[in-house]
């Protein structure tokens, strides 16, 4: 069974690179440009992992994570933050909200992929 990943980010160029890399690893990739789109997708698909940016228009990363955490259907979904916010206080906040991992931009694609793989196998 193919692993499913939902990439939520409002920057198309970044999304494109990640999409390419995860597809290479045989993931089924879903893409959302912000929190609200992500929640729409989650209604129909339950991914193994959500790769979530924080600073996005409309519904931001924190809100999206909170929503995922309180929905019982998503209790097995891993959530990983991938964001430019790299202050200690930001990281703490992310982990407290229940993120499984907190990764920062700019990133090495390889590193991201291996972190995610580690989480889902």
């Amino acid at each position: 069974m193919k692993k499913k990943i939902l990439i939520v980010d409002d920057e198309p160029n970044i999304v494109m690179s990640l999409e390419y890399a995860f597809k290479k690893q045989d993931f089924e990739v879903f893409i959302a440009r912000d929190g609200s789109e992500a929640l729409q997708i989650l209604k129909h698909h339950i991914p193994n992992v959500v790769l979530l940016d924080i600073m996005m228009p409309n519904v931001d990363g924190y809100q999206t994570l909170t929503h995922i955490k309180k929905t019982n259907d998503f209790k097995d979904v891993k959530v990983v933050f991938l964001t430019a916010k790299n202050k200690a206080s930001d990281i703490e906040k992310g982990i407290k909200l229940g993120a499984d991992k907190y990764l920062t931009k700019p990133f090495s694609v390889k590193k991201i992929v291996s972190e995610i793989l580690e989480l889902v196998t």
């Binding site: 160029n13 390419y20 228009p57 700019p106 990133f107 390889k110």
Partner: protein
């Protein structure tokens, strides 16, 4: 009478006076010297030869016009209990030694003001003294039967020797003490004695003339009432005379306070405040008695001699005419007494002023600092002695060259008018704390100049040129400038007229400049002390907030130079005991500074005292912190000290301002943090894109399809552009926000700039098939920085293009002329600005929440930069709210 006999009598009389003065000095504490009667009689120094002889002259020539000069003091007397008591208290507290000292201290020890008052007093008093000498000389001439001998040389003139003897008397008893604020008991006792003599002798001659030569008052009245113009002389004729009376009464009202000799006897020589209680009814009574027989002597003289040519000396001529040379001698001695007391007290007062307010502060201070105490006090005494001689001798020469022509009455009034120029700064300053030194100086000078123009100049010119052109025609022939009828006021007598105009302008200048210019801190402090003299004791020592560095030893050195070692040590000891300070205190505080200034004031005047003490004190501006400390330390004093309250209010305001500023800083800091966060985020985004794409492209194991490869390369290029743009904008914005950007203002055509902006965005508009319409094609020139306004327009245009729908988009650029500015608008038919965004679109990094499409490639700084540029041009930018579809942004460029 024989000349020598007369001189012999004079010498005997003078010897008696010396002896009385000597006795009084010896028994300073005796009840005979210190009682309310002596005080009241000393006030009668007001009655000079002018009163003694002059009144009769006026009564004979112009009826009851001699009265206003006495009515002023009578009206003033009841007020003494309030006004004079206040003045006495202040003077005692501050060891004031003259009226010049008093006024200069009120305005913060202003040195120039003290000198100015001294000069005014000199101008006012010198002619007055010379008038007394004239009386001596003329009465001497009348008394002596040696009429053929007319002296022309100074050396032969008996008046000159009289003047010299008076100078010796004043110098001897006036400079017993270096401290001029010490009482002059000897002089006062002799003045009181003379006041008795002159009154008694005048009453005797009055009674003699009225009841012996004529058959009582009724008889004289019956005889005189049938002569010509009798009615005219005994009644006030109409409103004009009323005005004259009013101004003359006002004039003498001021004189009783301000004449240097009156200030000397009523304020400086006052022993106890309660003596005032007796003086306020006894002194008017004295004046009344003095004037009792004036009119009858005048009438009797008129009836006896027919002409009024020598009317001033009727009281002397009448007994002589009737062969009673004994009575005539008494009258002569009475007049002589009036002269002596006036001359001695006036010179004493003037010499103190000259030394303390003119000579010492303007030239001798340096000398004193280096000298020994004994030599210093000798110096001071010598300065005063020299002043006394100089003043009397100058008065003598003034008399020789001038006053032979003038009547006693006219010179007396000139003196009054000149002295009255001190009234506004003196009286108003006593009750109004806004009065400032600058205003006092300007008021006095203006008033003095007007008095000179309207009173002194006309008679001086007449005396020199012998013509009346100046009086008749006015300056340069302008009739509004006639000295006796300035601006057409012709119904007043010259002195009343001069008094009216000089006082009007003096008071006006004083009030206006006081309101316009506020005095410095020290000045306001003294003003407060004078005006609010009830709280005096709490105010005086601690009021002067002073911060500086001074050593007790330095201050003591200064004190020793003037007071001698013994007195200085004792004074300091008393001071330390009073304030419960240790006797070996090293650092001086404000109280000691004040105390020392006061100690020295008596010797060298307040202005000099301040300068001297300041020379050993490093005075600093008091800081607010210091004031705060003082406030906390002595809360009781604060309430009474409005100045401190003012400072404390300022402090409260300042601290709340500081709080605000701090909050603003904190919020700015927060904003700065947020800004940096956002900048970092915005920078990281394209870098992340570039890094990820590059990594993937570099993976050699990966067999990437060609079209994906080129897409990644395209992304990298795009992100690099974005990064470059972002950096450029950030730098631009930073420059604008910190105000480091300088506009290159040029006279430009706005139409050309708009065209340029449109053509620079033409490519992207074409790509999206959006139409841009340039609506107003007229050219209009104004001043602005073209590159920057171009940036604004390009920003607005690219924003408009961004939010327009492809193909249907239409953008209109328009401008119109307002009253004060050029108004330029950019309107699109895109999706418009959501209501909730209206207030934020000009914030940095604010991007619309509702960007449904892919995120526009903006830096988030565009509109923020635009706003900064517009505001730098002093213009405004805003988005129109009620627009049906699309958005309209408007900005203005003010005309310059």
């Amino acid at each position: 009478m024989n000349n020598y006999a007369l001189i012999f009598i004079i010498i005997i009389y003078l010897a008696v006076l010396f002896y009385i003065a000597f006795l009084a000095e010896k028994k300073r504490q005796s009840k005979w010297v210190n009682n309310p009667y002596v005080y009241t009689l000393s006030l009668a120094v007001y009655c000079s030869a002018w009163t003694y002889y002059g009144s009769v002259g006026i009564a004979a020539n112009s009826g009851i016009n001699f009265l206003p000069i006495y009515l002023g003091p009578v009206i003033a007397a009841p007020l003494w209990i309030v006004v004079l008591r206040k003045i006495i208290r202040i003077s005692k507290q501050h060891k004031i030694s003259s009226i010049a000292d008093f006024i200069s201290l009120r305005y913060g020890n202003n040195r120039f003001l003290g000198a100015l008052v001294t000069i005014i007093c000199l101008f006012g008093t010198l002619p007055y003294i010379s008038l007394q000498l004239k009386a001596v000389s003329e009465t001497f001439e009348i008394m002596s039967d040696d009429t053929s001998y007319i002296s022309t040389a100074v050396i032969d003139d008996s008046t000159f020797y009289v003047a010299l003897i008076l100078a010796i008397f004043a110098a001897f008893f006036g400079t017993q003490n270096t401290d001029a604020s010490e009482k002059h008991k000897g002089i006062i006792a002799s003045v009181a004695f003379e006041s008795i003599l002159k009154l008694v002798f005048f009453l005797i001659i009055g009674a003699y003339v009225t009841f012996y030569l004529f058959n009582g008052t009724t008889a004289i009245y019956n005889q005189i009432s049938i002569t010509d113009n009798f009615k005219q002389l005994t009644t006030l004729s109409g409103v004009e005379d009323g005005f004259n009376w009013f101004f003359l009464i006002g004039l003498s009202f001021m004189a009783i306070f301000l004449l240097p000799r009156q200030f000397q006897v009523s304020v400086l020589e006052n022993n106890r405040e309660k003596h005032l209680k007796k003086a306020i009814w006894l002194f008017p009574l004295y004046l009344l008695l003095f004037n009792l027989f004036v009119i009858f002597i005048a009438w009797a003289g008129k009836l006896t001699f027919g002409s009024t040519q020598n009317a001033e000396y009727y009281s002397l001529l009448l007994p002589l005419e009737n062969g009673n040379s004994f009575l005539a001698t008494l009258v002569f001695l009475g007049g002589f007494s009036a002269v002596i007391s006036m001359v001695v007290v006036s010179t004493l007062a003037l010499s103190t002023m000259v030394s303390n307010n003119l000579v010492i502060p303007y030239g001798f201070l340096d000398k004193f600092i280096k000298n020994q105490p004994e030599r210093n006090s000798k110096y001071i005494k010598n300065i005063r002695r020299i002043s006394i001689f100089t003043i009397i001798i100058s008065a003598y020469f003034f008399y020789i060259s001038f006053s032979k022509e003038l009547s006693l009455y006219s010179i007396g009034l000139i003196s009054f008018v000149i002295i009255s120029q001190l009234a506004p700064s003196f009286f108003i300053g006593l009750y109004w704390n806004r009065g400032s030194s600058k205003a006092a100086i300007i008021g006095i000078i203006v008033g003095f100049l007007i008095a000179v123009y309207t009173l002194v100049l006309p008679f001086t010119l007449r005396a020199y040129t012998g013509t009346e052109d100046f009086t008749q025609l006015g300056l340069f022939g302008i009739s509004a400038l006639k000295p006796y009828a300035l601006f057409g006021i012709h119904f007043l007598s010259p002195p009343a007229h001069a008094f009216f105009w000089s006082m009007t302008f003096n008071v006006l200048s004083y009030l206006v400049f006081s309101l316009v210019s506020k005095g410095n801190y020290r000045e306001r402090n003294y003003a407060e002390m004078f005006v609010d003299s009830k709280n005096f004791t709490t105010l005086q020592d601690s009021a002067l907030v002073w911060k500086g560095e001074a050593y007790v030893s330095d201050i003591k050195n200064v004190l020793v130079r003037f007071l001698g070692d013994k007195r200085a040590t004792r004074a300091l000891k008393i001071f330390f005991t009073k304030y419960k300070l240790s006797q070996d205190t090293q650092l001086a505080d404000a109280r000691l500074i004040n105390f020392s200034e006061k100690l020295l004031t008596g010797s060298i005047g307040s202005a000099s005292a301040k300068i001297l003490i300041a020379s050993v004190v490093k005075e600093e501006q008091i800081s607010l912190v210091e004031v705060l400390k003082i406030l906390e330390e002595s809360k009781d004093n604060i309430v009474s000290n409005k100045v401190l309250l003012e400072k404390s209010n300022q402090l409260t305001q300042l601290s709340s301002k500081l709080k605000d500023a701090n909050e603003e800083l904190i919020s700015k800091d927060k904003q700065k943090d947020e800004f940096l966060d956002t900048v970092a985020h915005e920078l990281k985004t394209p870098i992340t894109g570039i890094r990820a794409a590059t990594e993937l492209l570099m993976d050699e194991e990966d067999d990437m399809p060609q079209e994906i490869k080129s897409q990644f390369l395209k992304n990298i290029l795009q992100d690099s552009d974005r990064l470059a743009r972002l950096i450029h904008n950030i730098l631009d914005f930073e420059k604008l926000e910190t105000g480091r950007l300088h506009l290159d203002m040029q006279y430009q055509d706005i139409q050309k700039t708009i065209t340029k902006a449109i053509s620079s965005t033409y490519q992207i508009a074409k790509k999206k098939e959006v139409q841009i319409i340039n609506k107003n094609t007229h050219s209009f020139k104004t001043n602005y920085d073209e590159d920057r306004i171009l940036q604004v327009l390009t920003n607005l245009l690219s924003n408009a293009i961004k939010f327009c729908l492809p193909k249907k988009g239409e953008i209109i650029v328009d401008y119109k002329l307002g009253n004060t500015c050029l108004e330029i608008s950019v309107t699109d038919n895109g999706k418009g600005i959501p209501d909730e965004d209206h207030d934020y679109i000009f914030d940095k990094f604010y991007q619309s929440q509702d960007q449904n499409t892919r995120k526009p490639q903006g830096s988030g700084l565009g509109l923020a930069i635009t706003k900064q540029i517009v505001e730098k041009h002093h213009g405004k930018i805003w988005a129109i709210k009620d627009i049906k579809n699309g958005a309209r942004l408007v900005f203005t460029i003010p005309f310059k």
